[in-house]
Each structure stands twice: as C-alpha cells, then as structure tokens.
Symmetry: C2
Subunit: 517 residues, 2 copies
C-alpha cells in the first residue's frame, strides 16, 4: 500500500503541526481543560479485531480479480474515516466494525467484477479513496449484509489524459490531489481544487462527496469542475459526455456527484483545470462579522471577489489572536473586530477593483495574515489530534444559505450550542449566498460519544430549521443522513432510493450512508 | 387566454420582421427556389379536428379543479411546438394529434389534482408553457394513453418573490421571460436569460429544457441560474433548497432541469438574477472560423470573454453579407473572412483587456454589426415563416464539444449535410469548449417530412459519432430522443426511466419525449 495516515488520527506520525505556544492558556481559561495530555491512542498491537467473516468462496473469487488483504493493519486502516467520532473510536481501540477484508482492484474492470461478486454474495462494499471523510462516510455499516469489504482505490491512481487546449484532465479516482496537481504542474496547469484534506483526499473522493475546496469562490466547487465521469455500479457502467454544456435531458453526472459510493464506484473523472498562477494575499480588519459579510456580498455580486475569501467572526478572530499573540496586525483586530483574508490567483485588475471597495470598510493588515493562513491551511485536523490528547471536544459544522438568510442561520447555530466555544467563518462565496463554517471546542464529558450526539443533533436541527443546507461541503455520510429528508423531502429521498435500488439491487454499496437504511 | 402566437408559425400575425430585400437573389442562386410564394398555411376555419376523446367523467372532475377548454382554437393552438416539422404539419392543417382538451389550472395545487386525475384515467398530459419547442417537445404523442390533454401553465404566471439582497427571484413557471424581466427591471435587476424564443418562452419552460440563452457566456445557462425549484409529479412534490452550494447528496434540482415534463410539472423556479446594466457591442473581422474559434478560446480561458460572443463561419458570414449588402463593414469581411460580434454588459475592464487580445488577430468593424445583431436577435423564427412560404427547407442543428474536438465535430456535421446550404456559428463559450449552431437551408422536396427525416438523422448521427452532445440548448423532445442513448448509454437511459416510473407510474407525463417509448 502507499503512504498511509496513522489509524488513530490525521496524517503521518509526527508530520503535522502542533498546538501553538499560547494554546495552554486558551485551553485552561476558555475550554476548561488543564492543557495536559490526558488520553493517548492505543497502540496497533493492542487492537483486537473480530475474525474475518468473508465467505471463503467469495474470497477465492475476489482473489482472482483483485488483491485481497485480511491482515490487521489493512483492516484497521480501512475501518473508518477521520471524524471526531471516528477518532474517538479509533483512539480507544474499538474496531468491532472493521472490514472483513480490504480488496484492492487494479482497474475499472476489476472494480466491476468486485461489485458483481459482492452483490452475488450479499457482502457490503465501502469504497475507500483518501479516507478523509468527517461525516462517517466510511463507517463499517453492514446494513443487511453478512460481511463487509473495504474497496481500496489506491491502485486506480493514473492520470488518464491532459488536454491543455480544452483545460480538461482525466484522472482515475484513487489519485491523490497532490499527485494530480503535480502531473498538471508539468504542463503549467493546476487542479484549482484545494480542500483542507488536500494532502490525502483523492479525485474520486472529492467528486463522490461534492467537495468545495478552499478556492471555490474563484474556481468553483468540484461539482462545477467535473465535466464528465464514469461510474461502475453492480449492474453496469454509466459514462457521461464531456460536452461543456448540454440540454440532453437531466444531468446524470449530477446524480453521481454526491452519491458517496451508494450507487457504485467512480472510475474516472474529467475535470476542468486551470492555468497555474502564483497566489497573492491581503488581509483586512473589519468592524464586525456582519459588516464583513456585507463587504463579501458586494465583492461577489460585483464580480470582483477574491479566489479565496475567509472572514472570521469575532470569536474566531479573538481565538486566532489568543493563539498567535498580538503584533501590529493583532492590535488592529482588537476590540471585537474581525479578520478577513483574501487570496488572489492572477486577476490583478479584479484585485485592485476589490481592494478599492474593501478599503472603504476595513483597515489593511498587509499580506502577512494571508501567508500565515496559507502556511497553516491544512493544519486543522493535525491540531485536532493534539486537542483530543488533551481531552478537548473538537468538531466542525458547516452549512450555507442565501445572503439574506445568513444572519438568521448564523445566530440559530450559535444558539443551538450553548456552553461550547464556537467560532465561525465564511469561506465560500456565491452570487446568491455563502457558507458558514463553525469550529466547536469544549471539554470532553465522561461520555464523549453521547456528548457529541447531543450537540451535533442540536446544531443539525438548528440548521435545517433555519433554512441552511445540512452540509455545504462535508457530505452526508452516516452523520447527516437523518437530516437529509428535512432538506430534500419525502419524494427526494424516494428518488434517491429508487436510483440506488436500480444501480445496487442487492443493497451492498456503502450501506447506511446518504440514506438511512 | 393571453397573447397567442399564430397556430401555423411564429409570433403574432404580421408582428415579426420579414425577409430582407436581397433575399430573393440568394434564394434563386444558392437555394434553388424562385423566391415566389408557393405555399400558404391553411385558415383556422379549414382545420378539422377529431372529436375530443376525453372521458366524460374525467372532464367533470377536471372542471372542478381547473378550466377545461375543448373548442377548436384552444386545441389547435396547443397541438404542438414550433419546429420545422411542427410547422409543416400545422401549415397543412394536420391536427389529427391535437389534444382532446386544454386544461388550465390556476395554481400548483390544481396542477397536482390534474396530474392525479389524468393518472387515474390514463390520460396523457403535455405541459405547455411558451409553446416554443423546436424538437417536438409538445407533440401530441399519446403513448399507451387513451386521450391527451394540454396542461396550459399560462395562469401560473406570478412573480413569487424578489430578493435583491441575494439576487434571487422566484417565479411561477408560466410567466413569460419579458414579463419576468419587467418585474425585475423595477428593482434595477435583469433576468440575464435571453434565448431566441425570449418573447414567448416561459421561465418554467426554460428550466424544463435547459435553455442556454444568448448571454450564456457571461451569465451562464439556465441550469446554472436555477438555485431551487419545485416540481409537482403525479405521486407528490419535490422542492429543492435554495442554498447556493451544497454537498447534501446528488443534486435533485439537476434531475428536474431538462426533464421536459416527463416527470411532472415545474411549479416554481428560483433564479439567480443580475443587476441591470447597459449592453455595448463591438465586432471584428477574423481571418477564418477556426482562427476566430482560437481567439474565443483564448478570451474564455483568460477569463475575459464577452457576455455575448457570436462567431459566424465563412458561409454564414457570406450569407449575412448577401442579405444585408456590403458597406464599409462588408468590405472588411470579403474574401472568406468571418464576422465576430461581442456584446458586453458592464465589465469595462474585462472588455478592454479582451479588445487588446482580439486586436492582435482581427480587423475592427465598430459597434454597428453588434447593434444590427441585437435588433434582429429574435428574427430567425419569423423569417422561417417567410422562407416556408417560398418552399424553403429551414432547420437549425446545434451541439457542443470540447475546444480540442470542435473542428472535428464541425467538419463531421458539414459532411453529413451535402447538397444543403449550411452556415454555422459559435455562440456559447465555456472554459472547456463551445457550442456549434448550424442553420440549414435548401429547396423543399415533394416530401418535405421525409426529406427532413433523412438529413436530421444524418446530422444527428454525425454529431453523436463525433463526440458532440445531441443538443446543446434545444432539448431532446421527440426529435432527439432516438439519439440520447448514444450519449448517456444504456444505464443512463435506464436511470431516467426508473426515475420517471417512480414519479409517473401511470406513464401519462409527456409520453414519447426524452425517452423513446
């Protein structure tokens, strides 16, 4: 297997950033924990796995089309994603739901064979790309199935083609974003899709979960970048055409995007890519979160929004200052002001028009906060491991709505999370609205799983009641599935179920995700 | 009923432009017809309709929820759309497939009742918006149904809400585009969606058929403008959320867009709208169609494309000159050069950057050709009536593909249409490709229906073989349905059928459209 993350947390051992110097004070004074390490993940040696329930006859037939691994390490590493809940379980050594085997096909044809075989034997299949789901999308739910395999797409990692003329690149699903980007870089191109999970996420995983990426304001979400895809289901394959626009009926591409492995496995993705340009940053201090939101709305609706826009609310700004310390930049952010970071990729005309507009309502902070953001853009999940060591509850909650409903949704989510330390930022702009991303911290209770269940439910109910989407870019997985019906209605759920049943009559594809079984 | 088009052609009697002065010469020398009027549509009085087959019990129940009309005029006017084939039939007085009744509900609830009743009685329902389909989308196909009603959405024509903060306006489906635009104008806003059928098309019809609109390069296709919609099916309603971006599973909105009335009836559409700005134009003479395409690709991929871009090939340019006569502008287009018209809506910085780029490969023609284009932007279908009076075959064929496949597709379509007069333009730009729009003229044969069938089939086969979409913005309807399988594959067709069966178990919704029965 290729480079792997630690089973109990994010990234490779010791590779990520650690909690900054000032964190101890924050943890003691605001979160109510001592800041000392109070919990450590179990060692792999200590993990006990249930014996593999893979039927012997199926094992033999799978081995004819793909590699099949049943060793402890393979099964542990493919047991789940990287949500707070996932990590609580992994750190405690609970691998009761581990896959019975990890199946590693080498091409789309082998994927098709695996899906057919597992359908025949009624064995659940959880497609595994980068393993970075934070919504239980990789949970070992067996549904009505007798066993479960993790379908590792790591070997489907080829660059199929790059068309610099049309700015279209076709990838196999298992290629990780940095490798896809490296292939493009050789031709002066860039992926233009940079989620926080960039270092580990795969192209197929991003498409299957409708990833947004930190540059979505400038470059569009992955669902806007995908020009065509192929998906292998247990009953056959679907390939959509790469026409840049079409009126040839409903867009079936849009049925596969966001299907989270419940219909089949994405086996190729054609993406619109970008010319590679250097990024530049500027940052601003704005009077308040809502005033900053108004600035962002004006920029976006005037067509001069930055490619990366990130506005922290008062609490998130204060927390960032508390962690980073206050220099010149910090002093301009004191007194309840808010940090706005803008990232520009080329487009200097747009940037100067935007700066003129921003200057009317903000104090300039120079490029430093933007560079600091860029440096730490992938840090969040690494820091989470350190926080969990210290008994801190740490979760993120994200949604989106129209500009006119943004304040209502923001206040509703805050009101649903009393007693927790909650900061928020806007990081994805659209002409008609924006995203809200909340970071939730608190002291873990004695039953952190129940604690999580209670506040997650409260936040999710607040979101759907206030007209937000249950997820702007984390996907549905298992954790948001109970709330999807509120968003798309009974007929919406029925349509998804109908399509699933047509593609996956045996019900083996990623049970319990997207739709509640 | 409200303002109506003539039953045998486009628009109101005498309201449209007529063939220009120079047309006679062109018709004689290039099309091979005399230019004299050789055929006139029948009078309404001469139309014989089959007796209404609407079951008496259904009539009574429909009357309880909606207006029901069975008079000749209502039935004739709702018999079909405005394709060349439609007009051949209407002009000849063939109304054998006329609807048995026209049902006019006043709100979404009444629509639901009509769909349930027609399902119960097995009576086909053809939703009717602007009546402008050019692909047989409104043809009176009964499928397995005993009778057929046209569901006229003319009374669902309200502006539900306008949110200038979020730039979102919600419309009922039957409002025509000029009326929707007028409501927006009062708030300084604009629809930003202007198909050639603008004067008659409805918001719901545009959404149901994935209309592109002449400003799609700047403002996006209707499928990019729709932020949410509601659709009433025989088994219930689907309403999608207006979040500007979401990862909450497959986008069900995209299943309804382009469903062409085969699942149900769109009862409200939330559209992203624009601030209203004045348009300005410039035009250029480029060396060749392919050189012009390269210019457009550069503009689009540099992010400085005009909002409206229209590049005629050598033949279309020559024909325009032949019709308009050659002034100063014309002389700069002689010798096989091509006309490029650019329209700008605001965005002066973008326009100057673009002009600098274009100047390197083109001769300036000033604003006049752009203003001439704007003046005649809705003229095409009016002129078609005059041409049909003169025994001219007149059809348009449109597709789209990636930039790198554009020349191949262009040549393939031209090669499939020997003996006809074919001009082409590019009018919708995307980062990864563009549309191709062919205007086909010829002398009608003794059997114009068979003649149409032969060349349409040849062109359609050429398109799918060369990797183009079977339709970029005219939709599938009945005419493209036989070719859709080539584009989306067997499983794609099966998925559409599965969704249709779930929404419309009785099979009453617009039979024979989108999917071949």
């Amino acid at each position: 297997m290729r480079r792997e993350q630690v089973f109990w947390g994010w990234g490779e051992p010791g590779a990520g950033p650690s909690l900054p110097e000032h964190a101890g004070e924050l943890l003691r004074e605001e979160i109510g924990v001592s800041g000392e390490i109070v919990s450590r993940p179990v060692e792999l040696d200590a993990v006990a796995l249930p014996p593999s329930a893979l039927p012997a006859a199926l094992r033999e037939r799978l081995q004819a089309v793909a590699e099949v691994r049943e060793d402890v390490e393979a099964r542990v590493l493919r047991s789940r994603g990287k949500s707070y809940l996932d990590l609580l379980a992994s750190r405690s050594g609970d691998f009761a739901s581990a896959p019975d085997a990890v199946v590693v096909p080498a091409d789309a044809r082998a994927v098709a064979s695996v899906l057919q075989l597992c359908s025949e034997y009624g064995v659940a299949v959880v497609p595994f790309g980068g393993g970075t789901s934070v919504v239980g999308g990789l949970a070992g739910e067996r549904g009505r199935c007798s066993a479960l395999v993790s379908l590792d797409l790591g070997r489907l990692d080829r660059v199929v083609s790059i068309d610099p003329w049309s700015l279209v690149a076709v990838f196999e699903p298992g290629i990780r974003l940095p490798e896809a980007d490296a292939a493009l870089r050789a031709q002066g191109l860039a992926l233009g899709h940079v989620p926080q999970s960039y270092e580990w996420a795969t192209v197929g995983g991003c498409a299957a979960t409708r990833s947004a990426g930190q540059t979505s304001t400038g470059h569009g979400r992955i669902d806007e970048q995908v020009v065509a895809l192929s998906c292998v289901t247990p009953v056959g394959s679907l390939s959509t055409l790469d026409a840049p626009g079409s009126a040839a009926g409903p867009a079936l591409r849009e049925l596969v995007l966001g299907s989270e492995g419940t219909l089949g496995v994405i086996t190729s993705v054609a993406l619109r890519v970008r010319r590679r340009v250097e990024a530049s940053y500027d940052a601003w201090s704005v009077e308040s979160f809502l005033a900053g939101a108004e600035l962002l709305r004006a920029l976006e609706q005037d067509g001069i929004a930055p490619d990366i826009a990130r506005l922290s609310d008062e609490e998130e700004t204060r927390t960032s200052l508390a962690l980073a310390g206050t220099g010149t930049v910090g002093r301009r952010l004191l007194g309840g002001r808010c940090l706005l970071v803008c990232g520009w990729q080329g487009a200097t005309g747009r940037a100067s028009a935007a700066r003129k507009l921003i200057r009317g309502g903000a104090l300039p902070l120079g490029p430093a906060p933007g560079h600091a953001w860029e440096k730490s853009r992938f840090a969040g999940p690494h820091l989470r491991d350190d926080l969990m060591d210290r008994g801190v509850l740490v979760e993120t909650i994200e949604t989106a709505t129209t500009w006119s409903n943004l304040e209502r949704l923001y206040r509703a989510v805050l009101a649903a999370l009393p007693g927790l330390h909650v900061g928020c930022h806007i990081s994805h702009l659209y002409p008609t609205g924006a995203s809200l991303y909340f970071t939730v911290l608190g002291a873990q209770s004695d039953d952190p799983v129940a604690q999580w269940g209670a506040f997650k439910d409260a936040a999710s109910r607040a979101i759907v009641s206030a007209g937000g989407t249950i997820t702007h870019h984390h996907a549905v997985g298992r954790d948001h599935a109970p709330y999807l019906g509120e968003e798309i209605g009974e007929l919406g759920i029925e349509l998804l179920r109908t399509v699933k049943t047509r593609c996956d009559p045996a019900g083996v594809m990623n049970p319990g995700k997207l739709l509640v079984d």
